[in-house]
Symmetry: C2
Amino acid sequence: MEARIEKIKQQLQSQGYKLTPQREATVRVLLENEEDHLSAEDVFMLVKEIAPEIGLATVYRTLELLSELHVVEKLNFGDGVARYDLRTDSSKHHHHHLICVQCGSMEEIMEDWLIPLEERLEQEYGFHVIDHRLDFQGICRRCRESRESDE
Amino acid sequence: MEARIEKIKQQLQSQGYKLTPQREATVRVLLENEEDHLSAEDVFMLVKEIAPEIGLATVYRTLELLSELHVVEKLNFGDGVARYDLRTDSSKHHHHHLICVQCGSMEEIMEDWLIPLEERLEQEYGFHVIDHRLDFQGICRRCRESRESDE
DNA sequence: TTCTATAATGATAATGATTCCAAACATCGT
DNA sequence: ACGATGTTTGGAATCATTATCATTATAGAA
């Protein structure tokens, strides 16, 4: 944990930013909830517990800053709320999401299936891809199975 | 044009809704601006021109209704504004978007490149895909070329 | 046609997410 | 330590969207 915070501190400092107590508290919350896709509001509430004097705007700014530094990934599932995920070293490319419209669960696919498509975009459209977002809405296996046993 | 309005009228009526003058004006604006990705505010301003007495809430309500009926598709590019696209009969599947982070332009790809991926999802993950969203952020050809001539 | 029940509308208030701004803070040269 | 300069902060403001509510329009029954 401390090692990862130290690493992020380095990343900030290399760009001329400081790891202030507020930023550190925010990063700690992200590290402790690495599995979840937290919204800024979620992060804010959790940070409040360890640093009650923090302001919501600071959390937004910190998340935005970390996003620019590629420490976190800003996600958008179409519900009007931005969510933030820590990027692990291994995931240079984004993973994709399977969002179940029945139970609301979200599963991640860590494979990146879009590399051939991105190459095609560069060649056929002259479009240089920096980032992408791919989400699927549908019915997850669990809901499918319970639905079958119901009917 | 009239034929398409008539068709939408049928769709509304089949679900017990009426094509009121306000809804018709909204649909006309969408038909006349089919190429664009209009925000609710955009639609509102355009509808005002042909039906000045309309309220913003009605435009929002109408767009939401049309979205539920799958007449329009509600898009979200992460800029905090929902945008609405008419769905054409041919596009059962969504098209994809190339969003330029430099000039903000947006290009559409009408091909659906995800069909093989969706099949894989069904088989490997047991996930039944209903809908998907694929957006690429990057630098468009035009910006790339002008950037090269600048430097 | 007239009455009645229901759906739809427009104005405005409320909400939720995000951003702006003046004040607090830290850093550096003196 | 002291002031100048730029950074960071928290609260207030803003923007998009949704809910409320009183009013109006509509369709069907009598």
